[in-house]
Symmetry: C2
Subunit: 199 residues, 2 copies
């Protein structure tokens, strides 16, 4: 690990520039020329590393989805007891951290592609399923150690995930940050209720 070829560095650099430009201009309005300009390189160099624009988009989405996986892994690494893992995980899911992980505008644009590009649907689907089954497993473990009390942990995992997705979809339509925060707290409380978390 650690050793990275020039090629890999450039690739990451390009994906990053793609991401930053997409935040400003929108994912679909971000051309190879714009990315190249922001890096002060030629467009053809980008094509040299990513054979087509599709490949670039794929790389960005892969990067994005990996970030969400990392949140889970971090929560597991940071705490010993399942109880602590669950608590910190839930809190980060309903916090601005989770929201700040990846730009929402870019995320929803990428998500919109799910409906046209089967490959992208698979990517999103896979990650979502991975995260949910990890969470579901955690709930089962917490249930058997008596930390939580819900009837069906599998179902509860579904509910919590829907609630997370919906909450962020929702709060982005609220203009002031105070009501966004308020709504996040409300949703977190509901999530705790759904899984039957004992204080």
């Amino acid at each position: 690990m650690g050793i990275e070829s020039i090629s890999d560095i450039r690739k990451r650099e390009i994906v990053k520039a793609f991401y930053n430009t997409a935040i400003r201009e929108g994912l679909e309005n971000t051309s190879i020329a714009k990315i190249a300009k922001s890096l002060e390189i030629q467009p053809s160099l980008i094509i040299h590393y990513f054979k087509s624009k599709d490949e670039l988009v794929t790389a960005l989405i892969d990067h994005c989805l990996e970030l969400y996986l990392q949140i889970f892994e971090k929560a597991y690494a940071a705490h010993d007891s399942k109880s602590e893992v669950l608590k910190s995980l839930l809190h980060s899911m309903f916090s601005k951290d989770w929201d700040a992980l990846f730009d929402d505008g870019v995320y929803y644009s990428a998500y919109a592609m799910v409906f046209r590009e089967p490959d992208i649907r698979d990517k999103f689907s896979k990650i979502h399923q991975t995260l949910r089954s990890k969470f579901s497993l955690l709930l089962q473990e917490c249930l058997s150690s008596g930390i939580i009390s819900c009837e069906e942990p599998e179902v509860a995992a579904h509910h919590v995930f829907s609630l997370v997705d919906g909450t962020y979809f929702y709060i982005n339509m609220l203009s002031d940050e105070a009501s966004q925060m308020e709504h996040l707290l409300m949703s977190e409380a509901l999530a705790l209720e759904i899984i039957g978390f004992k204080k």
Copy 2:
């Protein structure tokens, strides 16, 4: 009412063609030329009715958001008792009808614009708030007539709306329709629980 000038007919026709093309090609990949081609007219005619492409996008979003308002109005018109209205409304919110109202890919692309275009954010925000306060009022009425039992109808309305948004976000990542349906039913059940609906 009913009388529609040629101008209005063409405008609606253009927005409809825009929508249909966007379903296939994606909202951002839909050019004026493509819309014109699908209608077998000249691009300049579209500009004649909508001064710019931005105006066209705005018209499409307006049309979309109005559809969601109509679902609410239909539920109110179709039933006399508040209990019936609530039941039918909840059912349509968690059914494929709601989902089929507007193409998801186009919807999420439009939603992504919320993060770049303040005007579009306002539009989405306004409709969302309107729908939620209508729903909140309904819950309050049902609560006082003893049809439901929740502590805070305002909060319950928030929760149900988050759940709806999240559920559709969620199920679009599921590939087979059976599990989509299953998840919709699960979410509806949770919604009924949240508002304390009595069977």
